[in-house]
């Protein structure tokens, strides 16, 4: 039965307007946490992963939906003692560019990324050769995703790589064309995860298992009820329905984490000099909490 500690609400957080976190909103909206007997509390809505990680480190959060990138970096650097309980989604980013870029007519394009060390930077690195470009042949600028659209429209950048819904919106508004969906660049690449504090996993393992199960239900719900899921996305973000629909079509909602994907990303971070990890494979196996997942599955 649930212990006294388990009746404490789980402090959850997510990033506002990130469609990748849809499963959380579904679970909240459809009562999947309650079904698991899990009291939850949205303890914070964040603007970006790094702040969310700080909140983890400060002991303010028990679990959160967040990008795999900030979660990995924080775990390695010790900002937050967390593990991945489940995948929230894979894929769901895209490289969008001006017509000229799509036609390969820009000799030295200016391309925007959302930040350094993110999955999108790795995706872009992978995509460049297919565009006939080298890392030295492009000008990289960091632009916050909402500003990528006006920047592209006003010709200050030639293209950008970002998570949905920014690519979808750019296409719908005819600001840019999709040059490559991330599925094409790196099929099944990791993106966002459900992460939990080590503290929670160690001291309240039942809660961790319940989280995984509720998340699993929510993820299956998205697959089974796409229209209802869309309605929840619109409800939680206020996004236009057609934008959300198009965006969600490019996001793959799966709950099983990919060890291979994470390991590759870790290696990328190591080569970029962002983190120092002796054994990427070992780190990945410890970072993704397979034992709890197995326990939850039983």
């Amino acid at each position: 039965g649930p212990s006294a500690a388990d009746s404490q609400p789980v402090r959850l957080a997510y990033l506002q307007n990130d469609l990748h976190h849809l499963a959380l909103w579904i679970a909240l909206d459809k009562g999947f946490f309650s079904e698991e007997g899990l009291p939850v509390e949205v303890a914070g809505i964040f603007r970006s992963g790094p702040e969310l990680m700080t909140a983890f480190g400060a002991g303010e959060l028990d679990a959160a939906y967040v990008g795999q990138a900030p979660a990995t970096i924080a775990a390695v650097r010790g900002t937050a003692r967390i593990k991945v309980l489940a995948q929230a989604n894979t894929e769901g980013s895209a490289l969008v560019g001006s017509k000229a870029l799509a036609e390969g007519k820009v000799p030295r394009p200016t391309l925007a990324i959302p930040g350094h060390g993110g999955v999108q930077e790795l995706l872009l690195q992978k995509a460049l050769p297919t565009l006939g470009l080298s890392a030295d042949g492009v000008e990289l600028v960091v632009v916050s995703p909402p500003e990528m659209l006006p920047a592209l429209q006003s010709g200050q950048i030639d293209g950008f790589i970002a998570w949905e819904p920014y690519p979808a919106r750019a296409v719908l508004q005819a600001i840019g064309t999709t040059i490559a969906n991330s599925t094409a660049i790196w099929a099944g690449h990791p993106c966002c995860v459900l992460a939990a504090a080590d503290d929670l996993i160690d001291k309240r393992p039942a809660v961790a298992r319940s989280l995984i199960r509720a998340h699993g239900k929510a993820t299956r719900y998205i697959a089974d009820h796409p229209e209802e899921a869309l309605a929840v996305a619109v409800k939680y973000t206020g996004m236009d329905e057609d934008v959300a629909r198009r965006a969600m079509a490019h996001v793959t909602y799966v709950e099983t984490p990919s060890l291979v994907g994470e390991e590759e990303y870790v290696r990328f971070l190591i080569t970029r000099g962002v983190i120092k990890v002796e054994d990427a494979a070992a780190f990945t196996r410890s970072f993704i909490d397979l034992p709890t997942r197995e326990a939850a599955a039983r």
């Binding site: 506002q16 307007n17 303890a43 603007r47 702040e51 700080t54 909140a55 480190g57 409800k235 206020g238």
Partner: protein
């Protein structure tokens, strides 16, 4: 002929609407006053994100700003007074003040979360950081500008340190300190978006609302949020001016 604030407000709105109607600027990037008006209505009814309406956003932000700026005044004024009155303290601590005050509030976000957690304390602390230094500097200059002869008059009449403070330095620096509070309050509001970066509990706040709308390219709502901040800030400023006129009526 008196220039009423209404006239100047209408003039600004008129130019703004005209710019929008030339069609030179895409409406997706600059909302017209009319569109912003509609967005305001929408924000009160539907909210952004849906269900989170403007009055609640405003209320939460107001709380954060009032707590942050209030603290800034309560702590900043004494610090400014002390620095203004003592060249020794000034020599020792003014460089520290001058070192800390240019540091952007956004850079403090991680430390604020670390020390104060998520919620009011953290947000108020960042607003505090914005408002604190203008209050300190203004109060400090204010004290230094008080005519020495008034201090001497009170000393000679038997007043000690405390009396010099109560009878001369405090009333004497009041006009300058009030200007500092006005600047501080403005900066407090200006710091709001940064403050709501620290993660908002419950998902309310004008800064949070603006950034949410920005994520969705709802420029009309972004601008409606700016207008809302402007109006709340203006209302507080007018209240402050009233108070100030009452306090320094001898001028």
């Amino acid at each position: 002929m008196m220039l009423s604030p209404l006239v100047s407000a209408l003039a600004v709105a008129g130019v703004w609407q005209a710019v929008c109607q030339t069609g030179l600027v895409p409406p997706a990037l600059l909302a017209s006053p009319a569109a912003v008006g509609l967005a305001l209505v929408d924000l009160c009814r539907t909210g952004m994100p849906p269900g989170r309406t403007l009055p609640m956003h405003a209320w939460m932000s107001l709380t954060r700003v009032l707590v942050g700026t209030g603290l800034a005044v309560v702590l900043g004024a004494p610090v400014g007074l002390a620095l203004g009155a003592s060249p020794r303290l000034r020599g020792g601590f003014m460089p520290l003040v001058d070192f800390i005050r240019p540091i952007p509030p956004l850079a403090w976000v991680p430390l604020a979360i670390l020390w104060l957690g998520l919620g009011l304390a953290s947000a108020a602390a960042l607003i505090f950081l914005g408002a604190f230094f203008p209050v300190v500097l203004a109060t400090c200059s204010g004290v230094r500008a008080v005519d020495r002869s008034y201090v001497e008059a009170v000393r000679i009449l038997g007043g000690g340190r405390l009396a010099v403070w109560r009878k001369v330095l405090l009333p004497g620096c009041l006009p300058a300190a009030l200007t500092g509070v006005r600047v501080g309050l403005g900066i407090g509001w200006m710091t709001l978006v940064a403050a709501e970066f620290a993660g908002v509990r419950g998902g309310y706040g004008l800064g949070y609302m603006i950034l949410s709308a920005r994520d969705l390219q709802r420029i009309d709502m972004v601008m409606a949020g700016m207008v809302a901040i402007g109006l709340v800030g203006l209302a507080m400023e007018l209240g402050l001016k009233r108070l100030s006129a009452h306090l320094v009526r001898w001028q």
